[in-house]
């Protein structure tokens, strides 16, 4: 049991919510399929042979499966809210970096971690964001941007809204996924939205830049896992380095070890400039490119994930790099701190497909308006 509440928990309780429990996720958020959970792997309520997505897979599973009023709190570093929302047919709202306090959240990559929401309906996500957002002096990266009642954006007309369609996000995508997303955009046009073709050519650097920054930060954040104040503990034996190494080697899962080693490498003397610092510069360029796009459009629209939810046996045959490459829709907006929402765009072969909308920093309202209009048209 934690010795204190996270700010989002405190705010939820203060607003009259009840915390029912914790949901499973990939260890430290290190995964796209919830296949690296330390305790139990959540199975997709639509097809238990398939993944819920990750890393917040338990939150997505609960949001899809529970038959009582509920909203799940989730976390995203590189797409960990969008993936489970898309794969379970739910709504996933990832707020702007800094919009929601991270006090009480275990750091994975502190320049990207964001607490958000997975729910059945857009209104529920908007409601929960209204509750948990806002400045918090306990989080040094918490934004002072005005928050407020995000449910006011639900049901707004999309007439005149400009939706950018970045072509790079529709290539190398399973046609079973891109087709319903294109149909969804057609329906939004039918409601009065205007679509605009956009190009974001630097997207090709996003996966690499994201993983370099994420792993570099994870390797230092998890230095706290020392077997004394944080994480597993055993009887102290041997000198400091022996004890420290034995605890970490015994209790970290395979993906955690992989990311810590790679993160150590990309920040090591001799490699830091070529990898870590370069990736941070690429992030600056990507932000600039997105900002230029947001000068022309209100939101960007892409598929949430490039594939349908895979079966666990298909995931087992993937290499770590194959898995990282699945994050191609979500790494750029997460690396750049832009808010996103994933809303169900239909089903193919009985499996859900998600439409991802991306907005400029602190423009969650536009996302909620467009997503709720689309959802209303789908119901």
């Amino acid at each position: 049991m934690p010795t204190y509440d996270a700010t989002v928990v405190t705010k939820t309780k203060s607003a009259g919510g009840m915390i029912l429990g914790k949901t499973a996720q990939d260890e430290f958020g290190f995964g796209t399929f919830s296949d690296t959970c330390a305790y139990a792997v959540p199975k997709n309520p639509i097809d238990p042979e398939r993944t819920c997505g990750g890393s917040s897979g338990g939150a997505g599973c609960l949001a899809a499966a529970a038959d009582f009023p509920h909203i799940a709190i989730a976390e995203s570093t590189g797409g960990s809210i969008t993936a489970p929302a898309a794969f379970t047919g739910t709504v996933g709202l990832t707020p702007t970096y800094g919009r929601v306090s991270r006090y009480g959240l275990i750091d994975y990559s502190n320049s990207m971690d964001k607490i958000g929401v997975i729910s059945r309906k857009v209104y529920d996500s908007a409601l929960m964001l209204s509750v948990i957002s806002g400045h918090d002096p306990l989080d040094s990266t918490s934004s002072r941007a005005e928050s407020g009642d995000f449910t006011a954006y639900v049901g707004k007309s999309v007439k005149g809204i400009r939706i950018g369609i970045p072509k790079e996000y529709f290539s190398d995508v399973d046609r079973k996924v891109s087709k319903p997303v294109e149909d969804a955009l057609g329906r939004l046009e039918g409601m009065g939205a205007k679509t605009v073709d956009i190009s974001l050519p630097r997207t090709k650097y996003a996966i690499a830049a994201y993983y370099i920054v994420a792993m570099g930060e994870a390797s230092t954040n998890l230095a706290r896992y020392c077997g004394m104040r944080y994480g597993a503990q055993e009887k102290i034996d041997g000198e400091f380095s022996e004890y420290f190494s034995s605890i970490r080697s015994k209790y970290f899962g395979e993906e955690a070890k992989r990311r810590i080693i790679l993160g150590t490498y990309v920040r090591a003397a001799g490699f830091r400039d070529a990898y870590y610092t370069k990736a941070l510069k690429v992030r600056g360029l990507l932000i600039k490119e997105f900002k230029e796009a947001f000068a022309k459009v209100d939101v960007l629209a892409t598929p949430s994930m490039p594939i349908l939810p895979p079966r666990f046996d298909e995931i087992e045959s993937m290499s770590p790099l194959d898995k990282y490459n699945i994050d191609k829709m979500t790494t750029a907006p997460n690396l750049c701190g832009f808010p996103t929402i994933s809303v169900p765009a239909g089903k193919v072969d009985g499996l859900p497909v998600g439409l991802q909308l991306i907005a400029d920093h602190f423009h969650e309202g536009e996302l909620i308006s467009v997503a709720s209009a689309f959802e209303g048209d789908s119901d």
Binding site: I236, F244, K281, G284, G337
Partner: protein, 97 residues
């Protein structure tokens, strides 16, 4: 230019030593093969022309937020809640030297 794909056993050992991780033989073999492939993919960032773009350490402008430095009195018992190795009110750590 960095040779992104050159990862050998001694480099892996060095990284593990810094990261305080001990890998068994099968983990070493697996990670060695994977690291070369992953780092080659990470090398994609080298192709990006960044000019004089400064590193973006955070995606949005982040200002340091300072609170009053208020002393909160905690007993040694409170402080020791997160550790099993409490002795006479002190947290016992492994030997450094």
């Amino acid at each position: 230019m960095v040779d992104f794909q050159k990862v050998d056993a001694s480099l892996l050992d060095r990284m593990c030593s810094v990261a305080k991780l001990t890998l068994n033989t099968s983990e070493k073999k697996k990670f060695l093969a994977e690291m070369s492939e992953i780092l080659a993919a990470f090398g994609t960032v080298e192709e990006a022309y960044v000019g004089d773009t400064p590193p973006a350490y955070h995606p949005t402008a982040v200002e340091n937020i300072w609170r009053d430095d208020t002393i909160i009195k905690k007993s040694k018992l409170d402080i020791g809640k997160n550790t099993n190795a409490l002795e006479d009110g002190y947290v016992v750590g492994p030997k450094l030297v």
